[in-house]
C-alpha cells in the first residue's frame, strides 16, 4: 500500500500526460487538463513545505543553542515578518505602495542581486588561479573563450572595426557561436533528450521508484 499506491499513481498520471500530447480526445484531454491544474497546486504546497523544513531545521539549532543560533533567530523572525505582512496586505500585496513591496525592493531584490554579483570577483580570481592551459584541449577552450569574451563586448569592435570583413572580432565570435559551438551543443541537447526520455519512461513504468521508498520524518 505504502509503495504500490504511489507507483500506480505515478504510472497512471504519467501515462495520461504522455498520451495527452498525442490524443486530443476528451477521454484523455479532460484528465490531462485536470492534472495540469492539480500539479500546479501541489507544487505550490511543496514550496511552502520548504519553508516549514527551514523552520524545523533552524528551530532545532535555536533550541539546542547550536552554532550561529542568534543568526537563525534573525532568519526565522524575518521569515515570519515577511509571511505576516504578505498575508495581512491581502490580494493587493504586491502593489507598489504596500509594505510587502517595500520589503521586496529593500531586502529581497537587493540582497539576491548582490549574492550573485559576488560571483564576478570569484570568476576573475579563478581565471588567474585555476585556468591552466596544459594540453591541446585546454588550449582550444581558452582560444574559444578569449575570442568570445573580446568579440561580444564593444572593445572587440573598436579594435577590429578596420579589419577586413569576415575576420573582425565580433564576426569571429559570432561564427564560433553559430557553428562549432552550436554543433556540440546540439549533440549535447540530443543526448540529454534521450536521457530524459529514458528516465521519464522508467519512472512511468515504475522501474525508477526510489521516491516511493523514503521514510517520512
Amino acid at each position: 500500500m505504502q509503495r504500490q499506491v504511489p507507483l500506480l499513481l505515478t504510472a497512471a498520471i504519467g501515462l495520461v500526460m504522455l498520451l495527452y500530447f498525442f490524443v486530443p480526445n476528451p477521454i484523455i484531454a479532460g484528465p490531462g487538463h485536470f492534472f495540469e491544474d492539480a500539479v500546479i497546486i501541489v507544487v505550490a504546497f511543496a514550496i511552502v513545505l520548504g519553508a516549514a523544513n527551514l523552520l524545523q531545521f533552524n528551530g532545532d539549532i535555536i533550541v539546542r543553542r547550536g552554532k550561529d543560533w542568534p543568526y537563525k533567530v534573525v532568519l526565522l523572525l524575518s521569515m515570519f515578518a515577511m509571511i505576516g505582512i504578505g498575508l495581512v496586505e491581502g490580494e493587493h500585496y504586491l502593489d507598489p505602495e504596500t509594505k510587502f513591496s517595500w520589503m521586496y525592493n529593500t531586502f529581497y531584490a537587493s540582497m539576491q542581486a548582490t549574492m550573485f554579483a559576488l560571483l564576478a570577483f570569484y570568476i576573475a580570481s579563478a581565471a588567474f588561479r585555476a585556468f591552466r592551459i596544459r594540453n591541446v584541449e585546454a588550449a582550444l577552450l581558452a582560444i574559444a573563450a578569449l575570442f568570445v569574451m573580446i568579440g561580444r563586448v564593444p572593445i572587440g569592435l573598436a579594435i577590429s572595426k578596420n579589419w577586413p570583413n569576415g575576420v573582425q572580432l565580433p564576426q569571429i565570435s559570432d561564427w564560433i557561436m553559430e557553428n562549432p559551438q552550436n554543433s556540440a551543443k546540439r549533440a549535447i541537447l540530443m543526448g540529454a533528450a534521450l536521457g530524459v526520455m529514458s528516465t521519464g519512461l522508467r519512472i512511468i513504468m515504475g522501474i525508477e521508484g526510489s521516491f516511493s521508498r523514503g521514510e517520512g520524518r
Binding site: A44, F45, A52, L76, M82, I85, G86, S110, L140, N179
Partner: protein
C-alpha cells in the same frame, strides 16, 4: 551628488539596501558577522516571500476560492494532496506524503518526456539535415560540413556502449575538440553574465544611493 534621503520611506529603503549590499560584499575580505547577518536575513526574507507568493498567486485563487464559492469543488483534491506533503513531519504518517510526490513526479515525467522528445530530439535532428554542398556558396557549404561533422563526432564521443578505438577513437577525439570550443564559448558567456550582475549592483550604489551618476 544627490544621496538618497534616509529620512523618507523610499530613501530609507535605498540606504538599507545599500548597507546590506556592502555587508554582503564584505565577504570578499573575509567571513564576518555583517555578512552572516545579511545572509540569514536574505534566506528568511526569501522564504517568507515565496510562502506569501504561493498563497496569493496559487493556493488561494486556484484551490481555496473555487472550493469555497463552489465554482470548482474538485480542486479540493489537489488541496488535500498538497496538505498531505506535511505528513512528513509526523513519523508514523510520513508515507502519505509519497502520494503527493507521486502526483508531481508522474505529471512531470510525462510532460518532460514529450517536451524533450519534440523540442530537443525530433526538431533538432530535423534541423541537422543540412545540404553538404550549396551551389555558389562555398563558405556556407564548409560551415554545413563542419556543423554536421561536429554533431556526429560529439555524439560518437558520448556513445560509451562500444570501446573507443580505431576510427571511433579518432572521431570521438574530434568530438572532444568541438566540445572544448563549446565549453570555451560557454565560459566566455558565463564571464559576461557574472560581470553584468556586478555592474548592476554598482549602478545601484552609484545612482539611487549616492546619486553620482545617472543610469
Amino acid at each position: 551628488m544627490h544621496i538618497a534621503n534616509p529620512l523618507s520611506f523610499d530613501g530609507l529603503g535605498v540606504w538599507i539596501a545599500a548597507l546590506l549590499t556592502l555587508f554582503i560584499f564584505s565577504f570578499l575580505y573575509k567571513d564576518n558577522p555583517f555578512y552572516k547577518l545579511a545572509e540569514h536575513l536574505f534566506v528568511g526574507i526569501s522564504a517568507g516571500y515565496y510562502v506569501a507568493q504561493e498563497w496569493w498567486a496559487v493556493i488561494y485563487p486556484q484551490c481555496v476560492k473555487p472550493v469555497m464559492n463552489g465554482s470548482r469543488p474538485i480542486m479540493i483534491i489537489p488541496g488535500i494532496l498538497g496538505l498531505l506533503l506535511f505528513s512528513r513531519f509526523v513519523p508514523k504518517a510520513g508515507w502519505l506524503s509519497r502520494w503527493s510526490l507521486a502526483i508531481i513526479i508522474g505529471a512531470y515525467a510525462g510532460i518532460k518526456t514529450t517536451g524533450f522528445a519534440q523540442g530537443d530530439l525530433v526538431e533538432q535532428f530535423h534541423a541537422s539535415l543540412l545540404p553538404l554542398w550549396v551551389p555558389g556558396h562555398i563558405g556556407l557549404s564548409i560551415d554545413n560540413i563542419l556543423f554536421i561533422a561536429g554533431i556526429i563526432s560529439t555524439l560518437v564521443f558520448f556513445f560509451f556502449s562500444t570501446e573507443h578505438k580505431g576510427a571511433i577513437k579518432s572521431t570521438a577525439q574530434l568530438g572532444v575538440w568541438f566540445l572544448m570550443i563549446s565549453f570555451g564559448a560557454a565560459y566566455g558567456f558565463t564571464v559576461m553574465a557574472r560581470v553584468s550582475l556586478l555592474i548592476g549592483r554598482f549602478q545601484f550604489l552609484l545612482d539611487p544611493w549616492l546619486g553620482v551618476a545617472r543610469f
